[in-house]
Structures are given as C-alpha cells and as structure tokens.
C-alpha cells in the first residue's frame, strides 16, 4: 500500500490517493489535499461539508452521494459544485480523508 507524507505526517493511501484510515486525518492535512486539488482556501462552508462527510462515513462506512449530501447537509447542489469543482462527492471525500464513495454497479 503506498505511503504519502501529507502535512508532515506519513499516511497510507490507496491507488487513487484516498486515505486508507480516516482516523489518521487532521484539518491541516485537509488544507494540503485541498490545495493539491486546486482549492486554495477552506471556508466554513467547505468545512461544513467535510465534517458532514466524515460523520456520514463514521456512521455508514461510506461517503454520501451528492443527493444525500444536499438533502442531509442542507448545502444546495449548485453550491456543492462551486465549493468542490469537478465532482463534490469524490473531491470532498478526498479532502475529508475518507475512502472514495462506493459507485453503484
């Protein structure tokens, strides 16, 4: 399993760069991952989504779909795409330090 140093900490990541153990995640790491993804600053709205993603992952073992994110966190879908351009579910999962959302077959 590949290792990566994020915000000074060595962590295990999968082939696509998602953290393997979400418990290794810190807020400092979130910012570094976000910057690598082209998001320069993490606003309160970003953090709201990220914390929601982590809570969902803790409860269900998988990250939420965009629909669920929208419905349960109250953040409008349009805004989700503005906060995390290029795919909120995957990008926010990466920044939140959880595994990639399970795709359906």
């Amino acid at each position: 399993m590949p290792e990566k140093i994020i915000a000074g900490k060595t962590v295990n990541v999968d082939d696509e760069g998602y953290l393997v153990d979400y418990k290794e995640w810190t807020e400092e790491m979130a910012l570094e991952i976000a910057r690598a993804e082209g998001i320069e600053e993490l606003t309160d709205r970003h953090l709201l989504v990220i914390n929601f993603m982590r809570a969902e992952f803790e409860a269900n073992g998988t990250g939420p779909s965009i629909r669920r994110l929208n419905k349960k966190s109250g953040v409008p879908t349009k805004e989700l795409y503005q906060l995390f351009p290029g795919g909120p579910a995957k990008k926010a999962a990466r920044i939140a330090g959880i595994t990639k959302p399970q795709g359906c077959v």
Binding site: K71, L80, C104, V105
Partner: protein, 409 residues
C-alpha cells in the same frame, strides 16, 4: 394461520410469490400479494419498441396469469407500511396484518426531479424508454425524424439496468444505418460516470465500442437542468450540450410508499442487508429487487439470483434458524450491440465484469465482454424464458452465485 404479504407484483414479487407458494404449507400460511397495476410488463423489451423490433403487444401480459391458484391478490394502492404494527394500510382503507413482509416495490423514473425535464416538451422532444408510454412515444418520433443531434443522458446513478443506455445508443446507431440516415444523425452519450460504464474493464471495452460506432462519449456530466426551449442540457458546472432529440434516463427512486412510511434512504430505497436481504431495521421484513439500497445492479437477473437466496433465508427465518444463504451481488446482462450481435457480462459485488467464456449447460458457452451473434440470440431467447420459466419461479440452468469458471483475470 400466519400471514405473508408481498408488496409489488413485478419481476421480483411474482417470482417470490411462485417460489414460496410452492413450498409453504397452506394449512399454516396465507399468502397475499398487492400491486396497484394489473398489467405485467416485460421491461427489458421496452428498449426494442422505439426501433420497431417489438410492438407494445410483445411486452404485456396480465399479472393475474402468473399468480398461482389459491393466492389472494389485491389490486390496490398501498397507502402505508406500518412496520411497528406489522400491518399494511391500503388506500381503500383496508388493513392487511402480516407476520412476514416481502417488499418488492421496485423503482420508477422521476423526471420531475430535474428542472425543466418534465415540462411541455416531455414526450415531444424529450423521451424516456423506461416506461411503455416513453417507448411508444419514441417509436412514433423516430418514424418521422429526419436526423439531427440525438443526446442520451443519464441523470444520476443508480439506475435500473445500467447497461440499457448503452444498448439504446448501439441500437440507434444500427437503426439509423438501416434507415439510410446515419450520416445525418450525431449520437452523444452523456453520463455522470467517468466512462462508458461503472466498472473499469467493462468501461474500457464499451468505450471502444462507442468510438467504433462513432458515438461521442461525454463523461463526468452531472445534469442540473433541461432548457427545453433552447434545446440543451446544462450541467451543475454550466457545461452545455445541445440536442434535437433528448433521450433521458431520469432519476430513479423507490416507490413513494417507502417514503411515506419513513422506511427509505434519500432515494426511497430500503436499507437492506447486502447478503441476507433482510431489512436492516426489521427482522420480519425482507427486501428484493430494485426496491433495495444494495450496490448491485437494478436488474431482473439480480432479482432472480436474489430470489433463490431469499427463499432459503425466508425458510430459515420462519423456523427461527440463522440466515445462512448469502447473496454475492451476482448480475448477468445481455447487451444488445446492434447489427444482430450482443455482448454478455457476468459479475458480482467483488468481481467486475471480466472477459472469457460463460458456460451455460445445454445452451452455452457464451463469450464475455465480446460481441457475438450467440449473445444476441441469448437475449432474444430470454423473453420466452422470462414469461414461461422465470416469473413462475422455475429452476433455470444458471447458478445464483457467480462462478469464476471461464473468466480470464
């Protein structure tokens, strides 16, 4: 007397009814099945109606014809499931108490979930092919269409029969070629997925097919709205794709009774144990087919494989034994690829569709992830099997568990 109630008499519900009716002791069990509609549609056939391969008559039969004698069937809307009280309330006010409940209420398309989709152009220049009305409407439209931009769009996952959109564009390519107007039609496949399909190896193979058939793939497109006046679809990131004919796969959601009863997730699918098929919340409720929230395909083959597992676990449950049968996510799909050929995929939760051979006693082998005439015949033959064997709960020569035999890693 104990009561078993089955909600929904589609593919999954009818199969379960026939299977359990043949093994449960009638002195001890009363079985009731409820559905609001009296007509059973062979849904895989909807795909062929727009291209005149099937007529609507080829895909319908009365539901009643597939119910075993002695079973109580009720054609009524279901108002509410009250799992705490072990009862169902029908919209005519009737109460149905149950000891065990099987939910097989399926999934439906919801075009009203997307802004501008279900407006004045619905079934005029915007069509689905997941309903008989949509399939018939498309058939009429295509008869007179002289060409332009055909855009197929998947709104969001999951959808029923995730290969059907690919089959639609493959068949469209063939059909326009037959009509002599292929050079006047641009076909685009617009999907929220990163490629042509959900799983990497199949996605690459199908991506190649799209390319070979001159069908343009637009991945990672998450539709926000349809602008039916300007005739374009617009993504959440303001990417625009213009169309002359939009064939859409709208948001799929479980039945509204699931929502009314507070038993579903955000898409009204019922949280279900992925292996035992028992409801995650209630021990005396099982869920089968499209109504579940499982990460397996929403498809008839899945319902069929699940029915074997559910039969076994149901018998265990009523006798107080542990549920030992485990569904593995097995799906098996024949994909029409046009020009009299087809592709077959066979996969489960853990194993993505792989190339190789698929052995089928007495009939096969079929080729996996490859285009052959034999696979097309498999699909054609299946309609007969569906009406005459599958719905009636008969044994088919195919294992409910996925086998690795013949597959190449």
């Amino acid at each position: 007397m104990r009561n078993l109630v089955i909600l929904g008499a589609g593919t999954a519900g009818t199969m379960m009814l026939n299977k359990l009716d043949s093994i449960l002791d009638k002195e001890e069990w009363r079985i009731t099945i409820v559905d609001q509609y009296e007509t059973h549609y062979y849904q895989p056939g909807f795909l062929f109606i727009p291209f005149g391969i099937y007529t609507p008559r080829d895909v319908v039969n009365p539901k009643q014809d597939y119910f075993p004698p002695g079973v109580e069937s009720i054609f009524a809307q279901i108002e509410l499931i009250e799992p705490e009280k072990n009862q169902i309330i029908l919209s005519n006010g009737r109460l149905l108490p149950y000891d065990y409940l099987i939910i097989a209420t399926g999934t439906k398309i919801n075009p009203q979930e997307t802004e501008g989709m279900a407006g004045p152009e619905w079934h005029k220049s915007i069509f689905d092919f997941y309903t008989i009305e949509g399939a018939k409407g498309l058939s009429r439209f295509l008869k007179y269409w002289e060409g332009g931009r055909l855009v197929l769009n998947i709104t969001e996952m999951p959808i029923k029969c995730p290969v059907a959109p690919l089959e639609f564009v493959f068949l469209a390519d063939w059909w326009f070629t037959e009509q002599g107007i292929r050079d006047r039609v641009e076909i685009e496949f617009v999907t929220p997925l990163p490629g042509a399909f959900t799983k990497p190896r199949a996605s690459a193979v199908f991506g190649d097919f799209l390319g070979k058939k001159n069908i343009k793939l637009i991945p990672d497109f998450n539709i926000a709205r349809v602008d039916s006046e300007q005739k374009k679809i617009v993504s959440w990131e303001e990417q625009e794709v213009p169309y002359d004919l939009l064939v859409t796969i709208p948001t799929n959601m479980g039945d509204t009774v699931i929502e009314r009863s507070g038993m579903g997730d955000e898409l009204n699918f019922v949280p279900t144990d992925p292996h035992t098929l028992q409801s995650k919340q209630y021990e005396n409720i099982f869920v089968i087919g499209d109504a579940t929230d499982l990460p397996s395909s929403k498809a008839g083959s899945v319902a069929h494989f699940q029915s074997d597992i559910l039969q076994e676990n149901f018998l265990s449950a009523i006798e107080g034994r542990p549920l030992r049968a485990k569904y593995d996510g097995h799906a098996n799909c024949y994909i029409e690829s046009g020009f009299g050929k087809g592709i077959l995929i066979d996969f489960n939760y853990d194993t993505e569709p792989l190339p190789g051979k698929f052995p089928l006693p007495g009939i096969g082998p079929f080729s996996l992830l490859e285009e052959t005439r034999m696979n097309h015949y498999g699909k054609v033959m299946f309609r007969w099997m569906y009406w005459n064997l599958l719905l009636k709960g008969a044994e088919l020569p195919i294992e409910s568990e996925m086998l690795m035999a013949g597959k190449r890693l």
